[in-house]
């Protein structure tokens, strides 16, 4: 079993002069679901982007360890699955073409069996050969889950995972999150009570603001 951990060491983030959060110290480990919550503008998306190495913190450090060995930032993308409303897939390709290109660019062979399993689980199997351009926002959100899970990452970061999903979609996503958390590390940034209810520990970002 893979032991994946993420340590946040005194993270500080400013946008210009505006402080987003200050002094976050936290440790995440596999087989848990962690939550990040806070009001709009509190920096939930910023924090998950920093954890995923998509943006840099102003100060502080994020350390990813895979089986106690530090993961190089250049190889971090191989270990991360990411879902968010501001993530876009290629509209001019079909769902399956998107997944095929992503696997090839990652340098792994396209696992058609897993792709079909995930497409089937998220009720997209019948539309896998349709251009993503014709998908509804909920279908695009489901496809993002497949994009995040196809390469079997050890760290799954979900920013507002249930946005645009109907009740059936939410249930399916919760089922998948619980299943993934059996072996992997899952971090959810959300304000939805039902999303946060899945988490064993929650970081309240409001606590990491200080008066300027």
């Amino acid at each position: 079993m893979i032991n994946y951990t993420v340590e946040l060491n005194n993270l500080i983030k400013y946008f210009g002069r505006r402080l987003i959060f200050d002094g976050i110290n936290f440790s995440f480990s596999s087989q848990h679901i962690y939550g990040i919550s806070g009001p709009n503008g509190s920096g939930k998306s910023t924090l998950v982007k920093i954890i995923a190495n998509l943006i840099s913190p102003t100060r502080g450090k994020v350390i990813h360890k895979n089986n106690l060995k530090e993961v190089e930032s250049i190889k971090l993308h191989n270990h991360i699955g990411f879902v968010s409303p501001y993530l876009f897939l290629y509209d001019e390709f079909t769902a399956e073409e998107n997944l095929l290109h992503f696997s090839n660019i990652r340098g792994i062979s396209f696992d058609k069996e897993r792709s079909d399993y995930l497409l089937n689980e998220l009720k997209l199997i019948d539309r896998k050969n349709d251009l993503v351009r014709g998908y509804s926002s909920g279908m695009k959100q489901r496809l993002k889950f497949i994009f995040a899970l196809l390469h079997q990452p050890s760290l799954i970061i979900l920013d507002e995972p249930t946005s645009n999903l109907d009740n059936l979609g939410k249930e399916k996503v919760y089922e998948l999150i619980k299943k993934e958390a059996e072996n992997n590390l899952v971090i959810i940034a959300s304000n939805e009570d039902s999303d946060i209810a899945l988490c064993s520990q929650v970081i309240e970002l409001e606590k990491f603001k200080r008066a300027n």
Partner: protein, 219 residues
């Protein structure tokens, strides 16, 4: 292999969206038509046609090659690329795509010049082919790294030619000189210094681009 897969994705996407090809084709047609109308029945010198060739190539490159990164930024897929590949893979993939576009574009432009302008006569074809090869590589490398820089800016359209001009100027000047030599029928050995400058430019730009790209790509 990963870079080639990214190139394949971009090429397939380009064939479906015609994002850069249409812009390039229209630009080439319009500029060559304007040159032909403005010349009319006047006979222009060989050197001038050689110069005009690289002017058309420079501005055509400005109109189409920024697409490699700008299209990703405009469609919001930059983050998706961040999540699937290392910066060096992304730069290599985009560079292969721009290399193909530059070679296609410049073959078309040179072919049109050779059939439309009587004074476009190359006496030493080998020398011109060497200049064409290394010149295209230089244009592709410079355009790719500049495209990466400007893709985050708000005024992409105006910034691209402004940033490109000082970077591409030494390349264009050397290419103009080599085209002139090829038109005069000079030998390859007598143009060694200019060819060496061209090769050095390509090597320096490629090395600098790979070193810089990590910093440009990270937010």
């Amino acid at each position: 292999m990963k870079a080639y897969s990214l190139f394949k994705k971009d090429w397939q996407s380009e064939l479906r969206t015609r994002y850069a090809i249409n812009a390039l084709a229209m630009f080439i047609l319009v500029t060559i038509s304007v040159i032909m109308f403005s010349i009319g029945s006047e006979k222009i010198s060989e050197y001038l046609t050689g110069g005009l060739l690289w002017v058309v190539i420079f501005f055509s490159a400005m109109s189409g090659l920024s697409r490699a990164f700008v299209s990703e930024e405009e469609r919001g897929t930059t983050m998706t690329l961040h999540l699937i590949a290392a910066p060096s893979t992304i730069f290599s993939g985009k560079l292969i795509f721009n290399l193909l576009l530059v070679f296609l574009m410049n073959f078309v432009i040179t072919f049109l010049f050779s059939i439309l302008f009587n004074s476009f006569i190359i006496k030493n074809f080998t020398l011109f082919a060497i200049a064409f090869l290394f010149g295209n590589i230089g244009i592709a490398i410079s355009s790719t790294i500049i495209a990466a820089i400007i893709s985050k800016a708000s005024s992409k359209g105006t910034l691209y030619p402004v940033l490109s001009f000082p970077i591409l100027l030494p390349l264009i000047l050397t290419l103009l000189e080599l085209t002139k030599f090829a038109m005069d029928g000079n030998s390859v050995s007598s143009s060694f210094v200019e060819i060496a400058v061209l090769v050095c430019y390509d090597v320096i730009m490629l090395t600098a681009s790979y070193l810089l790209f990590d910093f440009i790509w990270e937010e």
